[in-house]
Structures are given as structure tokens and as C-alpha cells.
């Protein structure tokens, strides 16, 4: 412990040299241990005749995957199968983040509500979900989802082409028909016009002080133009309806029970944590500020938007960043309920050819990348809400 630095105290040259020497020794020791581990691993792999390297990624996988965003069949390669898993992880994480945020904000606001019943219900929800292992919640949601749904033969028909059964939710798949390209172009133009209007409304308000409903006006422009374009290009979006054939539904878009259970479980669990962040954010704003704004006759909506929210977010965002990162990592529990995420498929590949080191390295790389992206985005967001200190 002699070499412990405290701050950066200017020292004598000799001291610096000693410190450099010690650092070098630490580094050498760590590298040495790393090398021994590496060498042992190599030796072990050699004794057992386990091959190493990433060549297996191009070999035929032969493993079945139940739920894929992209076209997949078992004759594809291991690498492609892993990609299917990565996409599934991304899909479920992205959707869960969006919905958990919505639910979490609702729960957090409910917890500080003046309505006693609402606040208590929110508190019970938070304290229950936060104190149960996610895995238990997932098992529970999965078995409830499965138990409550009917056999596909007796599927619940929600509407023409919408089926609900133990095989999941089947929806009509939108199919592009003739004129789709023109329609897309028209929608883009409408969007552009709407944004231009919105920006103009903002500028106009700053210039003259007269408020123009920029957002709603823009939305109205977009909606009208897009509907006109749809009608003008003669309804370019068709749909492929799922049909029950043999044992299963064919065609259409499918939302599998495993996916649904994982999504619901992740949303419920993470929303409890986000709810707490939101609550502590709101409570961190001094009551005096709200009272002052109220006393000035500012409307409740504006108080929330311009006084409460910007300050609450300062507390909420950093904590929520961590929760998003945990959510992505927690999506790996998919493996327990049979959803083919990256860890599940990677695990199968390990089981089949024993190349665990490569797969685990790939897992790490993907998770670290996702987490990096999340913290980058959230840092940008965070920087925008922080007080500029003068």
C-alpha cells in the first residue's frame, strides 16, 4: 500500500521513479497472470482437441429457431443464427424500454398523487415487483399467459385476421402493393411540410409574441396530406391474413407467447424501478417552486411542463440510464422461457460445438456495444436537462 497516491502531490524525482517502477511491476504481474491463463487455456484446448477461432461461424447451424425477425432456416450458418439472436435481443429490449418508460412515468406520478387509493396501489405495485426476482416474475407471467389462452383450434378472433391463442397473437401482415413507392414519397413530403410549419410557428412566436398552435397544426397538416396521398395512390398497403391450417396459423405477423411473456415481464419489472426514479425526481423539486408558480397563476399544465419536469428529469435521467442498461442485460433471461435471444442461441451453439470462449466474447461485445449506445444517448439527453452552471 506504500505506493498509494493521494491526489496528485508533486513529489521528488526519485519518488516518481519508484512509482513508475511499481506501476510497471503491477502491469507486468497482471499481464503475467493473463498470459498464464491464456497459456493454460490453450494447453487445455489442445489436450482436449477443442478447436478455437471463429471459423465455425460460417458452418451450417442446423439448429431450429422458433421466432425470427429475418428469414431463417436450419441450413443457415452459425453466424447468421447468432445474428437472429442479436436482433431478437434488440427488438425485445427496444420495445420494453419504450413501454417500461411509459408505465414507469405513470407509476411514478401516481405514487405522488393526492389520490390516496391511487398512490397506495402504485406503492404496492412498486414494492411487490421490486422485491421479487425477475426470473420468478417471468415464469409466472409465462405460465399465466399460456394458461389463459385457448388452443389454436378455439382461437379468439379479435377481428378479421386477428387471432389470439396459445400459439400467440397473429395479425395481418402489411404488404406493399402497387403505388407504395409514390405513397411513401408523399408521406415524406407531408412530414417535411409539417416540420417546417412547426418551426415557423416557433419562430413566429418568438418574433411577435403571438402563439400559433405549431405542434397540433403540424400534426393536422401531416394527417390530412398523408390521408390524401393514401387515397390518391389507391390504397397501396394490402394485408396478408393469417389462416389456420393443419395445426398452426400460416402467414400474417406472429407475436409468440415467449416473446410476449418476456416483454411483459421486463416492462412490469423495469417500470417499478423507473417509477421510483420518477417519484424521487418529482420529490426532489422544492414544493416552494410549485407553490410559487401556482401563486403566479400559471396553469397546472405549464407548471408541470416548465417547472416540475425539467428539474425532476435531472434526478430521474441518470438513474433511469442504469435501469435501461439493466433491462437490456435482463433480456438474457429469455433463455429460461424459451425465447431465442442472443444468449439462448449462443448457448445452443456452445452446446453443439463446445466453442464457449468465442461465443462468450461475442456476447460481451454485443452487450457492451448496446450499453455504450444507451449511455451515449442518455448522456446527450442528460446534458440537455442539466442546469448550466455559471
Amino acid at each position: 500500500m506504500k505506493n498509494t497516491y493521494i491526489g496528485s502531490r508533486p513529489g521528488l524525482l526519485a519518488k516518481k521513479l519508484v512509482s513508475l517502477l511499481l506501476q510497471g511491476m503491477v502491469l507486468a504481474a497482471v499481464l503475467g497472470v493473463a498470459y498464464i491463463l491464456f497459456a493454460t487455456t490453450q494447453e487445455n484446448l489442445e489436450i482436449r482437441g477443442i478447436e478455437s477461432g471463429f471459423a465455425f461461424l460460417w458452418r451450417e447451424a442446423g439448429l431450429p429457431i422458433g421466432d425470427s425477425l429475418i428469414e431463417y432456416d436450419p441450413s443457415r450458418s452459425y453466424g447468421y443464427a447468432f445474428l437472429v439472436g442479436v436482433l431478437n435481443t434488440l427488438l425485445v429490449s427496444a420495445l420494453a424500454i419504450v413501454f417500461a418508460t411509459i408505465l414507469g412515468v405513470m407509476v411514478g406520478v401516481a405514487r405522488v398523487s393526492n389520490n390516496w387509493l391511487l398512490a397506495k396501489c402504485a406503492a404496492i405495485y412498486v414494492e411487490t415487483l421490486r422485491n421479487l426476482p425477475l426470473l420468478l416474475t417471468l415464469f409466472f407471467v409465462y405460465s399465466v399467459v399460456l394458461a389463459s389462452l385457448p388452443h389454436p383450434r378455439e382461437a379468439i378472433v379479435l377481428a378479421e385476421g386477428y387471432f389470439l391463442s396459445k400459439r400467440g397473437v397473429y395479425l395481418p401482415r402489411p404488404v406493399a402493393e402497387e403505388g407504395f413507392g409514390i405513397f411513401v414519397a408523399a408521406v415524406c413530403i407531408a412530414l417535411l411540410l409539417a416540420v417546417i410549419f412547426w418551426r415557423w410557428a416557433g419562430a413566429y412566436k418568438r418574433r411577435t409574441g403571438t402563439s400559433v398552435p405549431g405542434f397540433w397544426g403540424g400534426l393536422a397538416i401531416f394527417g390530412t396530406l398523408a390521408t390524401l396521398a393514401y387515397l390518391a395512390s389507391n390504397s397501396p398497403i394490402g394485408s396478408e391474413l393469417p389462416v389456420y391450417k393443419g395445426f398452426n396459423f400460416k402467414g400474417g405477423l406472429a407475436l409468440k407467447p415467449e416473446f410476449a411473456a418476456l416483454l411483459i415481464g421486463l416492462i412490469l419489472y423495469t417500470a417499478a424501478f423507473i417509477g421510483e426514479n420518477v417519484r424521487s425526481g418529482i420529490q426532489s423539486v422544492q414544493a416552494g417552486q410549485i407553490e410559487a408558480a401556482n401563486a403566479l397563476g400559471v396553469s397546472r399544465g405549464v407548471v408541470t411542463r416548465l417547472v416540475l419536469l425539467p428539474q425532476a428529469l435531472r434526478v430521474t435521467i441518470p438513474a433511469t440510464t442504469n435501469d435501461y442498461a439493466s433491462l437490456v442485460k435482463n433480456s438474457s433471461l429469455a433463455v429460461a422461457i424459451g425465447y431465442p435471444d442472443m444468449v439462448s442461441i449462443g448457448g445452443t451453439i456452445i452446446g453443439q460445438n463446445g466453442q464457449a470462449i468465442e461465443i462468450i466474447a461475442m456476447w460481451m461485445a454485443v452487450y457492451l456495444t448496446i450499453n455504450l449506445i444507451i449511455s451515449l444517448v442518455m448522456n446527450v439527453l442528460n446534458a440537455r436537462v442539466q442546469v448550466v452552471e455559471r
Binding site: G32, V33, Y35, I36, A39, T40, E43, N44, E46, I47, R48, G49, I50, E51, G62, L63, P64, I65, G66, P74, S75, S143, L146, A147, H151, K166, R167, K245, G246, F247, N248, K250, K256, P257, E258, V335, A336, I337, G338, P340, S344, G347, T348, I350, G351, Q352, N353, G354, A356
Partner: protein, 337 residues
């Protein structure tokens, strides 16, 4: 300083270009006084801990037989439950001395995953189970079905091969554990369940109404299940191999748990005398004591008794392929002489 010595030793080994081999498991087991035996986390009939924590099943009894032969004490086994993914690596890395866990003998495992298989203890094959009211009588009719199965085994590969060969579309729901897969099938998530036929039978007995489920006649793969040991330790491989042959040979010769002591003393059959050490020392050929099979048989009985106890009595499995060659099965022990 130990690590630097180790480091130096290893560098020397690498410079010399020789790779050290794993050897001496037999001595290690004798020195430890117990056999570390890898089993499953719970497959009824093969290896399953009962409510008192006693391991039961065919695979567990193979562990006991080896311990009896090596240590003279069938109780000197430390059962190590292994997940499917660990079963090969655990033995190749020396975490267990022996894996006896419904493991299929494949060329890839034998050749490229650092293990050696010993002798087949159970000839299995993958099958399908489907609910009886589906009205299906052959696996080739299984088109457009959803199938529940477990990962980390040969099961999923066999299924996709079968589907491709027969031009069938099968949708898979792949689970990490057997229990989850069975549970999902039972709750109606899948139309069919696929795994080794013996296990299908075992799981079917656990359903509320077993007659509501049928096991389709097609067996879509060969699944010779054998205990495995680390690659490169020939003596240890011999020990395990010949203990399994001994169990099978004993059934063929009619030596049972009940009569083994009597046979050892009084039998006039030279084959029995050789096996039980009454004449000659067959055990010594692989480094075991001369009474090796007496110890084994008095502890667990012969193959037929093990099978009856674990698979017929509880799961109602017929002998089928696992009958002696003299009874039309595939069991054929190499001669002990």
C-alpha cells in the same frame, strides 16, 4: 511463487513441444477414496435424486458399479449434477472422473471434444409425443406443427434433419431445461414434444392423463448412450468399459445380486469363475482387484436387474433394443477372459 514455478514449468513444456496427457484417474480415485460421477439434474429412470436425496436410476447405478469395482464400496460416489451443456466439458476438464448422463456417442464428441466413450449402456432413439386427440399416427404427418424441445443436445439437430428429409415444416420452441419443455408441452404451447423415446415414456407417466398422449412409432435417430471419460487416459477408459461389460455379461451368465456369493464359491462354469475371480485374475488385467465383479454385482446387481429396477418397474419400459443379443437385442458384452 508457486505460480511462477508453474509458469516456468509450462514454458518448458511448451518449448519441448510435448503436450502433457491426462493420466492416472484410477490412482486419483483410489487416493481420494471416492468417485466423482457426473449425472443429470433429474431424468427419471436414469439419474434422479429422490426426496431423501438418494440418486436413483440406470446411470446412477453405473456410477455405483464403477465405485464398487474400484473402491469396493458402491456408496463411495459423489454425484455431481450437470446441466446438458456441462456434461462433456466437466469430464474433459477433470471436474468429474466419469460422466454417466444419457450422453449420445457421436463421432464429433469422441473425436473433437476431448472425451472417450466407454461402452453403450442404453440404446435409445429420438421420438415424438403428441396428444391423442390430434389424430396423428405417424411422425411423417407432423407438418406445420409446433414442437417443444431442449437445447444443448443432439435432439434439435435430429429434428431439423428429420424435417428436412421428409419435407416437413416444424416450428421449434427451444427450452433450456427438460422440465420447462415438458411443462410447455403439457400446457398446450406445442403440439408435440421430442426427445429420447425412453424419456418421453418417463415424462408421459407424469401427466395427469397419460393415455391422452401417444408416442409416435418412428424413431428418428440412433442414440447410443454411454458413460464417458476424459480423452487420453486409456487405463481408466478400460476400467469403466469393462465394468459395463461385466454388468451385461453377468446377466447373460445368470449371475445376480442374490446368487453372486454362491456362484463365486460353487459355480463350475469357467466363464463365471473367470469373471468372479474364482479362477484367474481378470480384474488385474485392467488394474482392478480380482473380486471386482463380486463387489459390483453384490452392490447393484446385473444389467437386467438394474434395468428392471429403474426402467421397467417405475416407467414401464420394455427391454426392446436393450435386450441381450441372445434375446434379439443389441447387448453384446465382449468376452471377459
Amino acid at each position: 511463487m508457486r505460480s511462477s514455478a508453474k509458469f516456468a514449468a509450462m514454458t518448458a513444456v511448451m518449448l519441448a513441444g510435448t503436450s502433457p496427457t491426462l493420466a492416472g484417474t484410477l490412482e486419483d480415485v483410489r487416493a481420494a477414496g471416492e468417485l466423482a460421477c457426473g449425472v443429470s439434474e433429474g431424468v427419471p429412470g436414469f439419474s434422479n435424486a429422490n426426496s431423501e436425496g438418494i440418486w436413483e436410476g440406470l446411470d446412477a447405478d453405473v456410477c455405483r458399479a464403477v465405485a464398487a469395482a474400484v473402491l469396493g464400496d458402491a456408496g463411495a460416489v459423489r454425484f455431481v449434477p450437470l446441466a446438458s451443456k456441462q456434461k462433456v466439458l466437466a469430464v474433459s476438464s477433470g471436474q468429474v472422473d466419469l460422466t454417466s448422463r444419457t450422453t449420445t456417442w457421436t463421432m464429433k464428441r469422441d473425436g473433437a471434444e476431448g472425451v472417450d466413450f466407454t461402452a453403450v449402456v442404453y440404446y435409445d432413439g429420438q421420438g415424438f409425443m403428441i396428444s391423442a386427440d390430434a389424430g396423428i399416427s405417424s411422425a411423417t404427418e407432423l407438418n406445420d406443427v409446433t414442437v417443444c424441445l431442449t437445447t444443448g443436445t443432439t435432439t434439435e439437430l435430429n429434428m431439423t434433419d428429420f424435417a428436412r428429409a421428409n419435407n416437413l415444416t416444424m416450428e421449434a420452441v427451444v427450452f433450456e431445461g427438460k422440465r420447462e419443455a415438458v411443462e410447455a408441452y403439457a400446457s398446450g404451447r406445442c403440439d408435440a414434444l421430442t426427445t429420447d423415446s425412453s424419456q418421453l415414456a418417463a415424462f408421459r407417466t407424469g401427466f395427469a392423463d397419460p393415455s391422452a398422449h401417444v408416442i409416435l412409432p418412428e424413431v428418428i435417430s440412433k442414440e447410443p448412450l454411454a458413460p464417458l471419460v476424459a480423452h487420453g487416459d486409456n487405463q481408466w477408459k478400460d476400467v469403466v468399459t469393462w465394468v459395463v461389460y461385466g454388468l451385461i455379461e453377468a446377466e447373460e451368465l445368470g449371475v445376480t445380486q442374490a446368487n453372486v456369493a454362491d456362484m463365486a464359491a460353487n459355480s463350475g462354469n469357467p466363464s463365471i469363475q473367470r469373471m468372479l475371480g474364482s479362477s484367474g485374475d481378470t480384474g488385474g488385467l485392467v488394474g482392478l482387484g480380482s473380486t471386482w465383479m463380486v463387489d459390483v454385482l453384490s452392490a447393484v446387481g446385473n444389467y437386467g436387474e438394474i434395468y428392471e429396477r429403474n426402467l421397467t418397474a417405475t416407467l414401464g419400459l420394455e427391454r426392446g433394443l436393450n435386450a441381450q443379443w441372445t434375446a434379439g437385442g443389441l447387448l453384446y458384452a465382449m468376452p471377459i477372459r
